[in-house]
Symmetry: C2
Subunit: 189 residues, 2 copies
């Protein structure tokens, strides 16, 4: 039995889980099966065994962020899991083969110069916290390339709609060929 | 049972395998157990079950290569598996936490501006073919970040020594904290 990557997280949807799924919207591509609850399991812990579906991803090094941007982000952002952040969202996305065939500078140009991905995210810090998980390079075939997990206070729900609305209008999002938006609330005691 | 990533490769060292290990040198960090033979198994095929050790990695998108460099590389490079390439090398490496904490532009500067990683590799094309596998973001904890698999004709053995010798003197290699150099020959009929 192999040891898990310490940066691995598992998102399991089904009858059990600490978060209640309040909305699940398929933005583009095939949907995921609907479920009542969501559990987020860190590396080394046991994920629910009754899940309708489970997605895995690992946090990793930054891929497009410059040193100057990293300083700005790190100064303002807060980590996932703040007690007041009782709303959360899981947004799995896949990007097209055309995206992955681009060189590093071509992808960076689209990501930031054309789409201002970091710049948009920065506007919503620290209200919206974000943790990005990569799944394209797992040993098991994954239906998504990225899982992003956000959390925020209930009063910042409209802010979060703004954030995802802006990102979906970018040049970068033309390369997103599958996206599901899963909103959850509450944590079990 | 999950389906494998189609870009997954498994390198198994032990009593069986198509390649004969002729030299195994620990360059830095902990060594790997010595073995007689090496097998390279693509996604979906069955790896030997008697291996002393097995390493997995997935091929992926380029991380530092610019569009202009990609054109140069793609024009000249040949794919792994040419019939005359009866010598090969597996070089697993791990980079330090300090490397992974750098921003994208800081890593690119070290990789190419200071170390000319692509520029050095290009000099040895098409004689030396190369396939890079990533293992840092697998779900299972991996002892290495990258597995590079090279093949070449026996008459290009000295060229290959030049190539790895040059890379090991670069600024980039100061961040390599584990490296094993495994040379193999032949293929079974």
């Amino acid at each position: 039995m192999s040891v898990s990557n310490p940066r691995l997280f598992t998102f399991s949807a089904g009858p059990s889980g600490a978060w209640t799924i309040i909305r699940q919207t398929c933005i583009v591509g095939d949907p995921l099966a609907p479920a009542a609850r969501l559990e987020v399991t860190p590396s080394g812990a046991t994920a629910p065994n009754d899940a309708a579906w489970a997605l895995q991803g690992v946090t990793s090094n930054v891929r497009y962020t410059l040193a100057s941007e990293k300083v700005e982000l790190v100064t303002v952002q807060e980590a996932i899991g703040r007690p007041h952040a009782t709303r959360a969202a899981l947004i799995p996305i896949r990007k097209s083969a055309a995206w992955w065939d681009l060189s590093q500078d071509e992808r960076r140009k689209i990501f930031e110069d054309a789409s201002q991905h970091n710049r948009i995210g920065l506007k919503y810090l620290p209200a919206i916290a974000r943790r990005l998980h990569h799944c394209r390079d797992l040993a098991a075939a994954s239906p998504f390339d990225f899982l992003t997990w956000f959390d925020y206070a209930p009063e910042h729900t409209a802010l979060f709609e703004d954030l995802v609305g802006q990102l979906r209008q970018t040049e970068e999002w033309k390369y997103v060929d599958r996206e599901i938006d899963i909103r959850v609330e509450g944590r079990e005691a």
